[in-house]
Symmetry: C2
Subunit: 333 residues, 2 copies
């Protein structure tokens, strides 16, 4: 009897150690599922628009410039480069899995992807066009007219259809099959003991309070600098810019941690260059906890398991402009 | 007898009219052949480098920025946008079929694609990096180290391997199977009567004296403004900048006309916005001939048959930077 209970105890310890005792069904993070494409022609059109720099005044900036699908759907810059090399006011969030967000932009001022897509096109700091000019450009291009007609059944293109097609493409940009999701789905060998230890720390320390759900974030607004104020030269006000309420100052949408190893630098001001720095700042400012270097490294090891399969994109061939297409104006004063 | 010879005469006229009497073997233009990929791993590596903005100081400009494979391998701008929005000094030529060129750049200062590829990386007006920095960036990225090792069998990356891989990718960027090439290969229905009429004009007027061979150009240097001087504010000197000889002033590499419908605007200064304008200027300045609107339109119709199959590119997923990778500096003074 003594021997049996000792073995039993060792068994429980071992299975806890290997994470066997967890039920993934009860985990606070759920796997990303592959995209279901309902309207392939609309998605294909949206892809062309996503990569088309003619939506910008300069003819040089596309959606993909700041949300580069070769680089985790981001530009890997602290602040993006806009029209005439203007410095963007906030770090470009990844477009990957953005359909899972509660709202779009760091301050959530757009309710969905479609509403978001219209923003940068007419933002003078970004693509610096207007909806009128962008639509005029597209309407002048026979290849686009034909595709819009096929997708929307109308002869003339409007901005609503442009943003609708862009959103349809962006909805396909999900990243299933990360090692963490393989583990969630039952492959207990998908993670190392150290990565699982990082996940345990991530849960037990409270990171998961905000970074949860399918996107491991993206589903709430939270104050940056909850326990200790966050010091930055960045002027973004966060949610307060939308609600007008002082209480919402510095409330930002919690970023997704999916593919976070690809979406450096971190935070709305891009001031954390590495995951190690980001985990350290989050621990101290949001949780009042200073992670030891080993704890930090374990959490980083876990975060790196959140990189999923990147979307497979055939680079589009864009329909050429016609003689009467408004020309880009990159250098006009 | 009378009737037979009349029928014969009609037959000759008809067959001339339909282009049946031409032997394509004697044509001054030859078809583009598909690329033969000898080293797929090297081509794949070159593709990643071609799309990687980390080869630039800002982290935002890649080879593809000015030689966009979605837009005929060009940027469709008069002058390209370089580091900090500097205005480029000359129109970016297409990268498509560039392996067929006698030399690279408008003035032919690089003897081949490999030599060319090193230029923009360290040009302060363009990507504004240095070969040392670019190589340091790549050497810091484990994904690149592994791929270079696989392709070149060495543990450390040098600029020579970077440009060699870029050139290997660019050599695959040929565009076979244009309608004109289908016609050259014997499909006499591939062109309309009007397009064939344009081709006849193209040959008979002397365009073909410079625009010949597989690339329909790219194989000689010729004076811009041969009959009548070309007036431009553009400061490029042409071949004289390479040879130092006054006689070479305004001698430029004849651009390829392959995919010319996609590579607007035209000329080294990008001042011709449309094919109609380009044909008109070429006729008057190079040939001393003013094409009628109908002749011009016929030649344009022919030129549009030179658009070939665009390269099928799976957009790359770039290996992420590491904590010690030198960070981009887009806004540093």
């Amino acid at each position: 009897m003594r021997k049996q209970s000792t073995l039993l105890a060792i068994g429980i310890v071992l299975s806890l150690w290997a994470g066997q005792a967890w039920s993934t069904a009860q985990e606070p993070i759920q796997p990303v599922e592959p995209a279901i494409v309902k309207d392939p022609a609309k998605v294909e059109l949206g892809k062309k628009l996503f990569f088309d720099p003619r939506l910008s005044r300069s003819g040089a900036i596309s959606c993909n410039s700041c949300h580069n699908l070769a680089m985790g759907g981001s530009d890997n810059l602290k602040a993006s480069i806009g029209h005439k090399w203007q410095q963007g006011g906030i770090n470009s969030p990844t477009v990957l899995n953005s359909s899972l967000n509660i709202a779009q932009f760091w301050d959530g001022r757009a309710k969905d992807l479609r509403e978001q897509a219209g923003g940068p096109i007419e933002n003078p700091m970004e693509m610096a066009s207007t909806h009128e000019l962008a639509v005029q450009v597209l309407n002048s291009i026979p290849g686009y007219r034909a595709e819009f007609k096929q997708v929307f059944g109308k002869d003339s293109i409007t901005i609503g259809e442009v943003t609708s097609a862009l959103a349809a493409f962006e909805e396909t940009l999900v990243t299933p099959n990360s090692r963490f999701d393989q583990w969630l789905k039952g492959d207990k060998k998908a993670l190392t003991v150290r990565e699982l230890g990082g996940y345990e720390l991530f849960k037990n320390s409270g990171c998961v309070a905000c970074h949860n759900g399918v996107a491991v974030g993206g589903n709430s607004f939270q104050k940056m600098g909850l326990v200790t104020p966050y010091v930055t030269e960045n002027k973004a006000e966060g949610r307060a810019a939308v609600t007008g309420k002082d209480a919402d100052r510095f409330n930002f949408k919690v970023p997704t941690l999916r593919n976070v190893a690809l979406t450096y630098p971190y935070f709305h001001d891009g001031e954390a260059a590495t995951l190690t720095q980001a985990v350290d700042v989050m621990g101290r400012l949001q949780l009042g906890r200073t992670f030891t270097p080993d704890e930090n490294a374990q959490i980083v090891a876990f975060l790196k398991t959140l990189t999923g399969d990147q979307p497979v994109i055939q680079y589009p061939v864009l329909p050429p402009s016609e003689d009467d297409t408004p020309r880009p104006e990159p250098f006009v004063k």
